[in-house]
Symmetry: D3
Subunit: 242 residues, 6 copies
């Protein structure tokens, strides 16, 4: 089976890290294909960039010309998953949902530790829309930007561990979700430091995507995610024009 793992930003090294992390947990027969959008911001830390990424991710997936079995949208708290679900007939898994959904099997409440404070409301809103908010103890910001995670891994780790510890002691979280695609691979270290299970959305999403494919389940097309009606799309420079 082939699973597309689409980065939401245009930084190739993050795409590579995500894809490596995904491949590391994939089943023997699963091929992970990492995709970087053709346009958009180098990192996503707000609504404007996230909306642009929503379209860029759809554009990139539509441009992929080989068969595939599932798509993972590898941005935490980003817009766009619903659009992909309309456009595709294969399962679409957002890492925000994947991490939260997995965390709920591991503890009574979970927290998310993300990058900048300004992204916290986006994540909260996405979890609310996905119906996975009820057992969320908190969404906390480490204060580091997405690209700082890459360039200052040790400082990032410390900042994330610090917030994770506060989530456990103050907010009563029993599980931590890593709230950024760029945190892929940090889960084990943070688990050792905090003593609670740590869920990385990318690897969780690989499990869920594989599971849905194995169970032959895909997006319901009866209402919200029905295929778009045929209509004129004008002026668009990319692949949606018809």
């Amino acid at each position: 089976m082939r699973i597309l793992v689409v980065n939401v930003n245009t930084t190739e090294s993050i795409t590579d890290a995500i894809a490596r992390s995904a491949q590391a947990v994939a089943s023997p027969g699963t091929e992970i294909v990492g995709l970087t959008p053709y346009f958009g911001a180098e990192s996503i830390e707000g609504n404007f960039e996230s909306y642009l990424a929503a379209i860029a991710v759809m554009d990139r997936v539509m441009a992929y010309d080989q068969p595939f079995d599932a798509v993972i949208q590898a941005g935490y708290g980003e817009h766009g998953r619903e659009g992909l679900q309309e456009l595709l007939n294969v399962p679409v898994v957002d890492i925000t949902d994947a991490a939260a959904s997995t965390a709920m099997f591991l503890g009574h409440a979970y927290s998310v530790v993300t990058t900048l404070d300004r992204t916290v409301p986006l994540i909260e809103d996405r979890l609310k829309l996905s119906g996975l908010w009820d057992r969320c103890a908190s969404v906390r910001a480490s204060g580091l930007a997405v690209l700082e995670l890459e360039h200052e891994p040790q400082r990032a780790l410390e900042a994330i561990v610090h917030q994770a510890e506060l989530a456990v002691t103050q907010d009563k979280a029993e599980v931590i979700c890593l709230g950024c695609g760029g945190m892929a691979g940090l889960d084990e270290q943070i688990r050792r430091r905090t003593g609670v299970p740590v869920v990385d959305g990318v690897t969780a999403a690989v499990m869920i995507a594989e599971s849905l494919v194995r169970l032959k389940l895909s997006t319901s097309k009866v209402r919200t995610y029905a295929t778009p009606r045929p209509k004129n799309i004008i002026g668009w420079p990319g692949r949606f024009a018809r």
Copy 2:
């Protein structure tokens, strides 16, 4: 004062109707400028089209090179308002929120009557995110597509009245919101037929936009809607590239 009223689809005749409707209620000193996105779908009836519209609306507003005092996003239940709020320093009013917020001053519960059933969950989700869901009795679909509203006005009117009556008698709505920018101008007829106040999001949004400008209030920049951080945006064919 100048208020931009941005259509979410690329159908100019709808832009014109919306702008006319907005100008009709605007204060003497207010100039309404109707804008049509440069790209996107001729009508928005789902998530993919709505996400594309989100970017198209931002793109069109950023391309407007005259001063303006407020922006109205004239799509019901569409994505994107938060992005505009980040990009601009003037108030941004979405007609979804404007209609609901106004309706809550008029009755204990309101319903929305929209176009196709597939758009109902989008509207519900936007109202939930905006914190205006609590007094929503129902979102009902007339079953007519956006463009059918234009081409078959009488049939559209009957279908909307029918659902509005069900909203009042079965769902206990006391106010009806017109759930599509393309319904602008139908409010008075529907009010006469149903006996309850009918709120058109476009005219409600003009009032709110004017009010915010008069009160010198605009979007808070301390967190969720802070100006995007400077960063590399690549590959984008439109106006966001830096």
Copy 3:
């Protein structure tokens, strides 16, 4: 257009301040009439006084013998708005709702800063009933009584600014609502001190009342706010006896 702005307490100087503040933002053609109840407490800081004010406000409005186009109830978190809506055919706007509703167009979450801690639950409950609670980050008390606001304006300002800052930094509010009619006029100073938009319910209510009148919208009479049924009212010393 004529808008009645009714104080909820019997302190004339507060009525004057509220009316002045309202007139300052009203449109050229709008006449603001400040009304003080004929009976009740000099300030409202609890349920008993608030219930008495509810009747006193209705009594005062019913005693007003000139035509008017809308009524503003200028008490924060007080009882009674629903009664006025039943008795009148013109729009009724409570400043509690007006401030919250306006704040929601300006930021992702808002806080209210009010007077005494004992009034916090009243405000919370009114916001819940009005369906405007979902995006409320907190209701905070400055610790100053209503009349202290009048007599010690500088101390009041400091106390309100202090709580507003806590609301922003700790509760993640992005907008502040002034939680007392007697705070009218303080918005600009608090905005400068805190850096976030500050909404004064009185001026916000003027905008909304004018807007509803301009849109020819008024209270729905089909259910909750239907005109009271004709019935014997006995023993009442005021204007409701029939």
Copy 4:
């Protein structure tokens, strides 16, 4: 022990029926004193009348010059209970809360059957404020006015039974609350007809009032229901002037 049972309307025959019903279930040592407000409407079916009753009930209780141990406010879904709680040091029990609270010990969900449809939102709102809404399956209106209950008992019974049956079969209620003080005494007949437990708020409130007195528990005075602060109350023709 002496318990005041205060009717919310001015119809003496209803006061008598309520008091009789209360006395019938009271413990041997309990004296029930039925009180009729000195002013107000003959029946309460809306917010204006209910707010007037709120003050009238407080006025009547304050005028009572003998010692008493608890007060029952015998109106379903009416305003005012919080004011009484501030003014008194003895327990105050509203029959709305008493019925709902009791019903929740008897089944997984309960419904309320009340009089006119226009009072349904009042009852829903009171239950929400009291924190007793979560297990409410529905509030249904029999369509009969309060005074019709008195004058046409058999027709009233049939209408109530009909709605109770719909509550059980359609709304999945397992218990029925009688949603009007004037329904006191009908519980046994409705139970026989519907096969589910039927709770009359008046008798339930007697049990709770007696229980609180026996346990020496009364209203907390630390915050919401603290005694009103001493202040000037002017112009009031009744007993609150100081």
Copy 5:
């Protein structure tokens, strides 16, 4: 009337204390019978022990061979009440619900102070399921185990008072519920120390059980708590085998 008060653990001295406390507030004609389960843990501080207690309580009640009028399950936040309600035709009152329900008549919000932190989520979940969560300000742990309450009463008292004070000052609770059957009898001391009403679930439950019996009300049998269908129960060493 005879009321069974069933301890959830197997420690006889706790059963005795609970029964004494219950008898002390019972009406003259009421006989309290304290029952200790035949099996289970010496104290209940988690889900496994609580599930075992659920069955042990049902087993013990079914083994009681004299008539009785009501049953009180005297564990705070434990499982099992719904099973008893199915098996019996007399009212069943859980002290968790009894305390919360009573507290809601005394203040705008209540907190629970319990034993170990690990039991907090159990109590929260039970209150949510019972529909009594809405006005809960917090559930706080004293940090003392159930049996320490018995052996170190003074230290327990101090720890409970400390958390109760935090509940009042920080969480804005106006009433405290004692969150453990083994705290029976401490209410008066804690009330004196904190200045707020303190509700002991055991005595509150006696009042409610007596009240339901006096009102001839018992569990609805139409749906959730219908008598179990006749079926083969195998292998069970206790009293449920048929």
Copy 6:
């Protein structure tokens, strides 16, 4: 890897069917071990039976003397999962949660179709406690008992399809969850008949259990599901005595 799939009732043929269904979707290296409790009811259709099953399942798992990697509790809406999580260090997956969690990746809302109406509130409550309720459109009963599913498969299928269709058309479900372990294997037929994805909790749980094991994630032990404290457990005839 070895996964224990524990039936909640004592009917061996249901255990076999569940285990077969689980093995059919398991990965090559996964061994499914079906377990039947040593005691309890032949089918679980209510709280008493479900509480008994909770203990019986824990008892059966504790008696299993071989190593294993995860446990699936194969009853829909049953009690007990939290107890197993305390007792074990390997992941525990309840099929109720597994089905709902999986369904939420497939559509905007899901419904559950179960057996008897009396079990509907149990399922609703379990979904609420698990934080998976928000996107549940409805829980519907087919009206057939658990054992009728076995003995009258065709009639069961028709009844389930009928309710699933109502869930889609009336409740706006986009995905159907099979609400009984005994429905394992019916998913494909119901999907064909209704046109929406159908999730069987047993196969979904196998995917999740395998995923958690592969990701080396297990139950958090810091709070709610901490290992039971050592204590005296007396009188218990089974395996928990120490």
